[in-house]
Symmetry: C2
Subunit: 207 residues, 2 copies
Amino acid sequence: MTDTPPKKPSRIQTRNRRLILDAALEVFSRDGYGGATLDAIAKGAGLSKPNLLYYFDGKTEIYVTLLSQLLETWLDPLIELDEEGDPVEELLGYVRHKLDMALELPLESKLFAGEILQGAPRITAYLSDDLKPLFDRKCEVIQTWIDAGRIAPVDPAHLIFSIWSTTQQYADFGAQMSVLLSAEDPTKRAHAHLEQMFRSLLKPVNY
Amino acid sequence: MTDTPPKKPSRIQTRNRRLILDAALEVFSRDGYGGATLDAIAKGAGLSKPNLLYYFDGKTEIYVTLLSQLLETWLDPLIELDEEGDPVEELLGYVRHKLDMALELPLESKLFAGEILQGAPRITAYLSDDLKPLFDRKCEVIQTWIDAGRIAPVDPAHLIFSIWSTTQQYADFGAQMSVLLSAEDPTKRAHAHLEQMFRSLLKPVNY
DNA sequence: CACAATTTTTACCAAATGGTAAAGCAACGA
DNA sequence: TCGTTGCTTTACCATTTGGTAAAAATTGTG
């Protein structure tokens, strides 16, 4: 019995860790890892800095905790891509789902984008251990659909990349869009536009 | 004659400012604005920190200088979009040009992305003063093409957004792609994939 | 060369930052 | 109610960071 007992966290622990992670998400996604400070996070959480460090071992741990929690959510939509369903509708469903996530969780999207932008120094392990196997599997599914002539012959990997970038931009580049579209709401046309784009790309060639 | 005389910079000034900006690009794009330090930039440039500050007034000035220089280059391809040319080929040419830029200038792309990600706090003025007018003009051009039935009816603004995001991802998310494609070279299929995607989207409906 | 202007170095500094030690306070079971 | 455990505060601290003052060295120029 030398191993650490699991010990479920107290109510107070659950609450404060939640407060900290919420504040940290805001700060990290706004200022980046380097620009974020423990003071800012503590202030946002309504706690003192040493109190923060009672719950987390340091800045990096908070950041990594945030990322790994996020990554689970992030993977879900891709997992749901079902080989048995209708190919075009499955892929369009994935686009829709991913776009909804970007629109509803912009801070999470930005946090992730920021980490990748800087070379993903803290999550490369996750990328190769969790994401890559899933990615490879889904690429194969897509390839199967292509071989069966059920969608147009696209490059599966680059198709997924395109889905990721076109959906996430609505969170990541939101500041730019706000300026360029002034009054308009980017959300409005985003769904329709992406549906049109990927439908025209994927529609199997008639003959 | 109370205004500052132009005074062309000495050879030594030109060289050192170049050294500094080159080093700064590397550091800022890798560590973000907040994570970048003057020491790191100075080291990269092979100068002492106070020497840096002889050429630039401070961290922010270096960063802003870098961004505004970059932004000119960034705009060019969009400016070249020619109303008189063949619509589909013009737009595909823009895609190609933008992709080449992302592949050849990944640091610049990342620097820009990082700034937008954080809400573009230092370049909002540029966005509304320079980019927006150009953006609006080109949206009108695209709308003209649509009205003439020369390309499929897409949302011009979102079309441009999609071009931006799908091209820039090859720089901004390069770390992720490296892991997911392991040995392969993302560059190879990128051009073909984007051409296929935007061609199928833009092809005018036959009737 | 002499002298002024430019460039670089040395020696600092105040504020911010990530983090710690230890005492005080609260909660809770026996 | 006592003692143990869990939580919070106060008071620090070493390092890093952006930045400055001023002397020293270098460069350009008549």
